[in-house]
């Protein structure tokens, strides 16, 4: 198929429909509104349902109901709206329901702004909602990768019965790039023999979707079972890209849009003879700690670059585990990290100035 030029938000919708998603529940918010608009146009054409809910709270609970009923379903929002969805996300994780949640991040806290940011990293990877649960968080850095991760994301969600989040930002949502829709890798997906259809199964047994375990023993066991699943996900799904890390004096690290600014900075550093490499996490949870642990043996220092004032850097430090210094450079509030400033920071680090 020939490549098409698509806006990020619309490409997510197209990829979701290609992946068999037929239900979308959402609420408008900048900078992701093109996605629900696209779904409202395209889903009815394939026999799907688009519903604009009264709030993000309602939308995520509609996702809960639809997923519990066995459907491939998604929702999308941007930062303040994702905060509202957190209650539902915790229930979805607790009831082990598969779904895709898209966060096209904007600057916070509070109403914040509408320009791109990466300041929802903690919320996405460390909880956000209540309880001992994990979201699988995928962080693309191009429209093509966003499409690939959306399509694979639905399968990952089904395979592990776990919510999956695509963590983008305003830049990825708004920009256009060439895309083609590739089949994701084949996964063995378990049958949804738990879904409530109203029709009882052959043994006349009714089905229940619930995150309620009133007996402490039961709730502990449920949590232990979830932890086993999370360990399995860590083992199988951790994904990152590494660029010239082996002989690098300094390893830069960034995800999403920021990683593209960093890759420009690395080119500029090479021109002036500085050996720089990059680790780019593609899954933010599970986080690729091992990549940093290994790189810490050869690199002299690390520099984390984010569109926040330092969130992922905490995971980078856990990975590096004190073996080498980890520095940080970030811009926030919708301001983007600057390539020249990154280069200057690296020079200072390697020159022993900081």
């Amino acid at each position: 198929m020939a490549k098409d030029l698509m806006k990020g938000n619309e490409a997510i919708g197209a990829a979701a429909i290609k992946a068999g998603c037929r239900y979308f529940f959402g609420y408008p918010i900048t900078p992701q509104s093109e996605l629900p608009e696209y779904m409202s146009r395209e889903l009815p054409k394939v026999g799907g349902v688009f519903l604009q809910a009264e709030s993000e709270v309602a939308a995520i609970n509609m996702v809960y109901g639809a997923s519990g009923a066995g459907a491939r379903v998604m929702t999308s929002s941007s930062s303040p709206g994702i905060s509202l969805k957190m209650e539902g996300i915790s229930y979805i994780a607790g009831a082990e329901l598969p779904c895709l949640i898209v966060n096209i991040v904007r600057g916070g806290p509070g109403l914040g702004g509408i320009q791109p940011a990466q300041s929802d990293y903690f919320q996405a990877t460390k909880g956000g909602g209540h309880g001992d649960y994990r979201l699988i968080v995928l962080a693309p850095n191009s429209i093509q990768e966003m499409c690939d991760l959306v399509m694979d994301g639905f399968d990952i969600a089904d395979q592990y019965r776990n919510p999956v989040m695509i963590l983008g930002d305003g830049t990825l949502g708004q920009m256009m790039e060439a895309v083609e829709f590739n089949e994701p890798k084949k996964r063995e997906l378990p049958p949804k023999d738990w879904a409530t259809t109203g029709i009882k199964d052959k043994n006349g047994k009714k089905r229940l979707i619930s995150s309620l375990f009133i007996q402490p023993e039961d709730l502990e066991n449920h949590n232990l079972k979830l932890q086993m699943k999370y360990e399995e996900i860590k083992k199988n799904e951790t994904k990152f890209e590494s660029l010239d890390v082996d002989d690098a004096d300094i390893v830069l690290t960034a995800y999403g849009t920021t990683s593209r600014i960093v890759s420009n900075a690395i080119k500029a550093l090479k021109k002036i003879g500085i050996k720089a490499g990059m680790i780019r996490p593609i899954t933010l949870w599970p986080f690729p700690y091992g990549a940093y642990e290994k790189a810490a043996d050869s690199a002299k220092a690390f520099l984390t670059v984010e569109m926040s004032l330092g969130q992922m850097v905490e995971d980078v430090r856990l990975g590096v585990n004190g073996k080498k210094p980890v520095y940080f450079y970030g811009r926030t509030g919708g301001m983007l990290p600057d390539q020249t400033e990154i280069v200057e920071k690296v020079k200072k680090i390697l020159g022993g100035e900081i």
């Binding site: 030029l5 920009m175 790039e177 060439a178």
Partner: protein, 182 residues
């Protein structure tokens, strides 16, 4: 490596974003790597609009243009805001129909193109953006004129034959307008 990083800016409604899309799509048609990044704000109409376009033979790194090989400037506020982003020796295309001021940059190649006047002569004020685009591709040859026409067809739909003709004429007149600089 052939690469062009472009800033296109003007009022909302001047076809700034669609000019960038048409240029990007033309690059895609020629098998190049492209990115198009719009500014976005709370206003629906009447504000300023700009977009960053990158056309490259290599994979596009950051889609954000900070060092522009060229800027296409449709109105005065955009000149003041964006002329500083053009690299030394880069192309600065100025819509002189609406901008009487000169650029403050002495180290760039400035082109004054009366885009609105030309568009009015052709008979459709809306194609001022295509006049600018015609001038731009004449200067850089980053994509062929034919690819631009193909992508206009894609954007407008091939049934709008008359509009496509006017767009073609606009591209041609834009190209002619910068030949005198050579």
């Amino acid at each position: 490596m052939v690469e062009q990083q472009i800033i296109i800016a003007g009022f909302g409604g001047q076809g700034v974003l669609s000019m960038g899309q048409i240029l990007s799509y033309a690059g895609l048609l020629e098998g190049k790597n492209v990115s198009w990044l719009p500014s976005y704000g709370p206003e629906m109409r009447g504000g300023t609009a700009n977009c960053n376009v990158i056309i490259s033979e290599e994979l596009v790194g950051s889609p954000i243009v900070k060092e522009a090989d060229a800027a296409i400037i449709m109105n005065l506020p955009s000149l003041e805001k964006f002329e500083k982003f053009v690299v030394s020796g880069g192309n600065l295309l100025i819509n002189s129909s609406l901008i009487s001021e000169k650029t403050s940059r002495g180290d760039v190649k400035a082109y004054e193109i009366p885009a609105n006047d030309i568009a009015n002569e052709i008979g459709n004020a809306k194609v001022a953006n295509m006049v600018m685009l015609g001038a731009y591709i004449e200067l850089t040859k980053i994509v062929a004129k034919q690819s631009i026409i193909q992508s206009v067809e894609k954007v407008l739909g091939s049934s709008k034959g008359n509009l496509i003709q006017i767009n073609e004429e606009a591209l041609k007149r834009g190209a002619e307008s910068v030949k005198c600089y050579k």
